[in-house]
């Protein structure tokens, strides 16, 4: 009679890679050769410097993996496999394994491991994927194929472009547009794209100004419009529309327009209104109106999450919405208090400057004044202006900064030369303690007024930082202030499920450490980027990190960020205040496994950066 150890087979097939190869008839044969061992907590399974000839499956219990120095590398629990690394190396084990709970282990003979490894691709794939690759594969499988993130703009085009030569008059242009039921018209000169005319242009630039019908269309068109390549992602089109407040983008292929996408195309594809929200903000004439819009923010955020947007896209959308609030408030403030007596630049700091803002955020801002600024003469104006803007930002949901890093604080409202001195001081005489509180000043973006002031300041920072290794080394050391919660995962393993309602802070222990690490490298290579992913590209190009490490950090950031936004969405839907905390009990096993991988990447990079700038 055929003996089938159903209990063992079923347990194996609940976990990767066996669930992938459940149909393989060899699995049943293999299960018959399994040996079962009960090992009490604290005993070696693979003792240091011993040969291993077994693939272990943790049926129950937990194991810790130690390196040669007996330092903890990671912990594994039910359903995980170990011992394969040494089997792939002919039995030599660089790591040792010890039980941390009473464990029941299934011991699979090495010959079965080798046989399946050679004969079954699904099986071998599992072991060939490194931790980073595992994370990458997981991220790809997370986004659905039809989302904005993965579809190129060309797939949104519905018809060939319609154009008219630049010497056509505006009446003809309007006729072409209404015949074809289009809201924009491309303008060409000898078949080259030179401009675009939209419904709005006809309204505001032609009719409202009482232009004659025979005015050439070139007079009212937008010259050299922003265009995109046909293979760019639709998500980038959304970002462009938001950051530039435009609703039509010609799509180019090999230098020729092949169509135009408009906001409607995007909204049809993914019904989120973040682009509309931005134009709405700019239309408001009072605080009540702005406040009303701010209440829609959570809805927009949730829609983005549901639409499978990645954290980069959500961060971008949230930041530009936030920046637009500031812009509109400053416009209103200038109407109220009159135009500024000297040029100034309103700057945003931290996540908004990096375009990585999330739903719940404080305001972090400051002001650079022109060097013509005179306290006596102009002080009161800027005092009133900043107070009013910061106060109303608070009313629109951007809470006052608890550390008082706001333009309303005179300390952070200074002429350019004072700012430069401040930065020189911080960089030349670095104090770790002080820098800890100042790191957000190194993510600085001009958002309103004379942006050249912000540009000059950023240039100054880049030049100074690169030349002062002691500054970099202090900043590097500070990145290890907050450790990823690896110990937490141990706790999780040890205490089993259901016993605790502990949470951990994803921002403080995962996201911020990555951002801090990337900022230091970015300063070291003189990158002028603010966004963490863009900084990583510069860092990679500069060769500051070993090959592939920049990508790992990007993936880790995305993974942790994704868990955060999903958890925030759930909190909002449950009627709670969104926070940066997650309760591990609410995480799927997918999320747990990959969060752990991500945190391990962070921990390793924290170690690395200390040596890099020591």
């Amino acid at each position: 009679m055929d003996v089938e150890l159903t209990e063992i087979l079923e347990a194996l097939c609940q976990h990767a890679p066996f669930n992938e190869i459940a149909e393989d008839p060899q699995l049943n044969d293999m299960s018959k050769e399994i040996e079962v061992q009960y090992v009490r907590a604290g005993e070696w399974v693979i003792a240091p410097s011993t040969l291993n000839n077994t693939l272990y499956f943790i049926r129950s219990g937990a194991i810790e993996v130690l390196n040669k120095e007996e330092k903890l590398i990671r912990r594994m629990n039910e359903g995980e496999l170990f011992g394969y690394a040494s089997l792939l190396r002919g039995g030599n084990s660089s790591q040792s394994m010890r039980t941390i709970e009473d464990s029941l282990l299934y011991c699979i003979p090495a010959r079965w491991f080798r046989k399946l490894y050679e004969e079954n691709d699904n099986f071998s794939d599992f072991f060939e994927l490194t931790r980073e690759a595992r994370l990458r594969t997981a991220m790809v499988s997370q986004s659905s194929d039809v989302s904005l993130m993965t579809c190129p703009v060309v797939s949104l085009l519905r018809r060939p472009p319609i154009s008219t030569p630049m010497d056509s008059n505006i009446r003809l242009a309007a006729q072409i547009m209404s015949e074809n039921r289009i809201s924009s018209l491309l303008i060409t000169d000898k078949n080259e794209l030179i401009g675009i005319v939209t419904d709005q242009d006809l309204r505001t630039r032609a009719v409202a100004n009482g232009l004659a019908y025979d005015t050439p269309v070139a007079d009212i068109m937008t010259r050299d419009p922003i265009v995109m390549d046909s293979l760019d992602f639709a998500s980038e089109a959304v970002l462009k529309m938001m950051s530039r407040n435009i609703h039509h983008i010609p799509i180019m292929k090999a230098g020729r327009p092949i169509g135009v996408i408009n906001l409607g195309d995007i909204v049809q594809k993914e019904s989120h209104g973040s682009v509309y929200l931005i134009s709405d903000i700019l239309k408001q004439n009072d605080i009540q109106g702005l406040q009303a819009i701010s209440h829609k923010m959570t809805h927009t955020f949730n829609q983005l999450v549901v639409a499978d947007a990645n954290t980069q896209m959500i961060g971008n959308a949230m930041s530009h919405i936030g920046i637009t609030f500031v812009k509109r408030l400053l416009q209103l403030a200038e109407e109220k208090f009159g135009p500024a007596p000297v040029p100034y630049c309103f700057i945003t700091l931290g996540s908004q400057a990096r375009e990585e803002q999330t739903i719940k955020t404080d305001q972090d801002n400051a002001m650079i004044l022109s060097d013509e600024y005179d306290e006596q003469q102009h002080g009161e104006y800027f005092n009133k202006l900043s107070d009013w803007v910061c106060h109303n930002l608070d009313l629109c949901g951007y809470a006052l900064c608890t550390g008082d890093i706001m333009a309303s604080n005179p300390r952070w409202r200074q002429p350019l030369k004072v700012w430069k001195e401040n930065f020189s001081d911080w960089i030349k005489k670095p104090k770790a303690e002080t820098l800890l509180h100042l790191s957000i000043f190194f993510d600085l973006r001009g958002i309103y007024g004379d942006n050249a002031l912000a540009k000059q300041l950023n240039q100054h920072i880049r030049q100074e930082a690169k030349q002062h290794p002691r500054f970099l080394s202090h900043m590097a050391r500070n990145t290890s202030q907050r450790k990823p919660p690896l110990g937490f995962f141990r706790q999780f393993v040890l205490d089993g499920e259901g016993k605790q309602s502990r949470t951990f802070n994803l921002k403080e222990r995962g996201i911020s450490p990555i951002i801090d690490i990337v900022r230091v490298h970015a300063l070291a290579c003189g990158s002028d980027r603010l966004n963490t992913l863009e900084r990583l590209k510069d860092i990679e190009a500069a060769g500051l990190l070993p090959a592939g490490r920049a990508k790992d950090l990007a993936l880790a950031l995305e993974m942790i960020g994704l868990v955060r936004i999903r958890s925030q969405k759930d909190q909002i839907e449950a009627g709670e205040e969104p926070t940066n905390h997650v309760n591990p009990e609410n995480l799927s096993s997918f999320e747990k496994r990959h969060l752990r991988d991500a945190f391990q990447i962070v921990a390793r990079q924290q170690e690395f950066i200390k040596f890099r700038y020591a």
Partner: protein, 233 residues
């Protein structure tokens, strides 16, 4: 665990030799002739065989064995490779209640051989092994009855009873007892050692279950170097 004095030692080796003489020619005689380990064999050197029976009911005098699972082990390792499983067609009709418990269908049993046809093989597999069961009374009595019926001679075998081991391990004198006595059911015992939950009532799974329980008990309570005579019943 209490240690026995020399006179108390239950010497299965001597008894096996006697029964080998007396037993009628056939599989049972050969089983006794194969012998058993000496009582001073260390637990860690003793070949063990976890056994579980499923029956039509709980009364050995009228209920019958319908399946039997075996799985070999030693103090550290359970070897699936030696696992064996039989189904046996009962002489009397099966009531529907026990069918639902065992998840064995009438059809499966109708096609199975009778116990008489497979008992020879079972005895062969059990030769020289010390048997591991959870609750010795049931397994031993059912096999004894079956042997009496088929061979007309009693069938005895040495046993490590995981239920008895657990009873002693959890024993507390009356003045230390508090609340209800701990449950000695297989599943409850396993949980005490953080062993996973299994679906009960499949003879082979239950054999595996008690094999794992014994390993856990050895890890916690028994001395692998001690003589088997300290533990066998």
């Amino acid at each position: 665990m209490s240690h026995q004095t020399k006179d108390d030692i239950q010497d299965w080796q001597i008894m096996f030799a006697e029964w080998a003489e007396e037993a009628p020619e056939g599989p049972l005689k050969r089983y006794y002739q194969a012998g058993i380990v000496a009582p001073n064999t260390a637990l860690k050197d003793t070949p063990l065989l976890a056994l579980d029976l499923e029956t039509t009911g709980l009364d050995p005098s009228k209920d019958e064995i319908i399946s039997l699972g075996l799985i070999p082990l030693n103090h550290k390792t359970i070897r699936c490779q030696g696992a064996k499983y039989w189904m046996a067609k009962p002489e009397r009709a099966l009531n529907s209640e026990s069918v639902t418990i065992h998840e064995i269908t009438h059809t499966e049993l109708a096609e199975a051989p009778t116990l008489e046809a497979i008992l020879d093989d079972i005895l062969l597999a059990m030769a020289k092994q010390v048997v591991v069961v959870h609750c010795v009374a049931i397994e031993r009595q059912f096999l004894l009855n079956a042997a009496m019926e088929i061979y007309g001679y009693p069938f005895y075998f040495p046993v490590l009873d995981t239920m008895d081991i657990e009873r002693q391990a959890t024993f507390k004198p009356w003045w230390k007892r508090f609340g209800r006595a701990p449950s000695l059911r297989l599943d409850a015992c396993r949980q005490r050692y953080h062993l996973p939950r299994y679906k009960a009532h499949h003879a082979l799974t239950d054999a595996l279950s008690s094999a794992e329980l014994l390993q856990a008990q050895i890890a916690y309570h028994l001395d692998p170097n001690a003589d088997i005579s300290n533990y066998w019943l």
